[in-house]
Symmetry: C2
Subunit: 345 residues, 2 copies
């Protein structure tokens, strides 16, 4: 049996020397190396920015979506959208565990897990696409995937529906980071607060900012804002177009008496929202970009261009305990659990 | 006289509603609005990532470089490289000040300034390219530019050569951010420490990390490493290829007894160095991406992909006092001043 590198570099075909995530093509042969785990895949949860792009390219046509997805995997050996660069995650059952992991992992054959590493670096083979659920970015398939030794995962909890857990785990990084950043008294804006990660971030922000803080939700549609309002997830609700920097700035100024945000969390799924985020944040404030549609240069040069001294953090999808933190929200908040069950499960 | 927006949105031609930096095309007519400043341009200091791309596209041919640069400005009304998205800055003399700025600005006609906002948002007209200095990314031109009301600038100091000041101001954000981040006892890696911003970052890092800290310089060439060594800017010197994540990780592990970096500052000018940066940093450490060749998705998904809990900051080109902090280095360090005079002035 072949010996593998913990990071999966042994699977990289092109270009040589890089890791699986930035690689253009990786080996998706399903014969495992000694430190790999083989997964029998059930559902792919495609990253929202990626799925939005694929759906648009397919003009909403499901057969076309299937073709694009199969094409991506055929070309790259992984489901990494060539336009957005992003992936998503998957749910499946452990089929085989490499002998080098014995005693090192708490997994056993038959366990159902969600991978918490991006599909953009996960060797994947799609044999058949069974069902596409475009409203929730989920795709049921027949196929296999590989988890590397350094790859993180969560066992699927038994106290909630599987698809619910998958939806939450997909964006687990955002609420966990929010929990770590927000302090009592903070004014927090969640740009895209009406979305999946947005609602989880609002919940954590409100919990941490407390009664002396102010949590502001920005969405673009009456319907989604109404939903969040009914669950009482924020203190203030703003309807605005996230790509219109001046509109967002003015509306946040109005809601904060011109003080602006201490922390802005960007969880929209569309491009060109860097400037709104920067202008809605106060000097010495912090912008946390979780959106995969974020452009590095637009953010870095945009902040400089308006002379704004804000700290800009790139949303690391992983932070310690993120799976537990986000699943816990579903147990704590009846209102949010209901929304998530209706929308995503 | 027409009234302008402080951020220059009145100059945006396409797409409407965005700010000048993300805009595809802005108006470079040199009749000023009431809150604008007209600059008679002397020298453009093109961003290193951008100039490297242009030089490669031109196969090093100076006439071809001129053609590409003129083409960019003709198409966009600003010098924003369409591949890297980045700009640079300029030096010039104040020719006209809009009446709405009276009493608001300390500038007067005839002052020589360097703009500290990116060329990627600055209305620019190039009448003639006089000289290209490819080794230092500087281009002398005959032309005009506009500074918006929110635009930041620095008066050119009189105690050092102009081109020296321009070189330093171009990358002022990096050493100033380094100064704010590094604490006594920190292990700091500067990836690209042999470059222009790299050397300034090393200087600030060593000053802040102090005797209990460790500052590590990574470059790719013997010659540049020798130069930095002679000036005694770091504690440890590593020759490595920044795109080879495993090589960088192993060499940093060796230099730190496996502890890895508390803070890694990325100031290289080439793509695909996100994973080296992440793997060379310890869990709960901080990666500061100043390089304009950084990819947001590669960093965000790469960190998640290896389960690394690092904070990743996007280098904001502006931070309060950055011009003063960086120019001060030239006054403090005779060794660095000598290198900068030789290389860039
Ligand atoms: N860093 C990571 O590891 C990671 C992991 C997962 C996801 N993500 C990223 O996080 C982002 C959000 O994911 P998600 O699953 O939460 O997406 P989602 O549920 O589709 O939510 C998208 C949000 O964006 C808002 N939005 C869209 N267009 C808007 C506009 N013009 N103006 C204002 N708001 C607008 C939506 O508001 P309305 O519905 O009110 O229009 C909604 O709140 C995506 O970019 C995704 O790629 C990152
Ligand atoms: N955020 C902002 O506002 C802002 C402003 C200005 C500049 N920047 C960015 O900062 C970065 C650095 O700018 P600079 O002017 O300092 O550039 P520079 O002087 O050209 O330095 C580039 C550095 O990268 C190193 N490098 C290149 N290829 C390498 C490789 N394969 N392996 C290891 N090291 C390698 C070089 O090392 P060797 O010479 O030893 O090969 C050198 O140290 C650029 O990306 C630029 O776009 C950002």
């Amino acid at each position: 049996m072949k010996k593998g590198c913990p990071y999966g570099t042994h699977r990289v075909i092109e270009p040589k020397g890089v890791l699986p995530q930035p690689a253009l093509k990786i080996d998706n042969d399903m014969e495992i190396y000694d430190n790999e785990i083989l997964i029998d895949v059930q559902t792919l949860n495609v990253d929202s920015a990626s799925f939005t792009q694929i759906r648009e390219q397919a003009n909403g046509d499901v057969e076309e979506i299937k073709k694009i997805m199969k094409g991506i995997v055929a070309e790259r050996g992984k489901h990494q959208n060539p336009v957005t660069g992003s992936g998503g995650m998957l749910i499946g059952t452990i089929e085989k565990i490499g002998p080098a992991l014995e005693g090192k992992t708490d997994l056993k054959v038959g366990d159902k897990i969600a991978t918490l590493v991006s599909l953009s670096l996960t060797p994947l083979r799609i044999d058949e696409i069974l069902e596409v659920r475009p409203e929730i970015d989920q795709v049921d398939i027949k196929g296999k995937a590989i988890l590397f030794e350094s790859g993180i995962y969560a066992k699927i909890p038994t106290d909630m529906p599987e698809n619910l857990a998958l939806s939450v785990l997909d964006v687990a990084g955002a609420p966990a980071q929010t929990a770590k950043l927000v302090k009592p008294g903070d004014t927090v804006v969640v740009l895209g607060g009406t979305g999946k990660s947005g609602m989880l971030c609002l919940y954590e922000a409100k919990k941490r900012a407390g009664v002396t803080g102010k949590v502001i939700c920005i969405g673009s549609r009456d319907k989604t804002i109404e939903r969040v309002k009914n669950a009482n997830l924020a203190d203030v609700y703003i309807k605005a177009n996230a790509t219109d920097a001046v509109e967002v700035m003015n509306k946040v100024a109005e809601a904060t008496n011109g003080e602006m945000a201490d922390i802005l969390i960007n969880v929209v799924n569309i491009p060109n929202t860097e400037m709104s985020s920067i202008l809605a944040t106060k000097d010495n404030g912090l912008v946390y970009f979780f959106s995969m549609a974020t452009s590095f240069t637009k953010a870095a040069l945009g902040a400089e261009g308006v002379g704004k001294d804000v700290t800009m953090i790139m949303g690391n999808g992983y932070t310690k305990g993120h799976a537990e933190i986000s699943l816990q929200i579903m147990r704590e908040s009846e209102a949010l659990k209901k929304i998530f069950e209706e929308l995503y499960a």
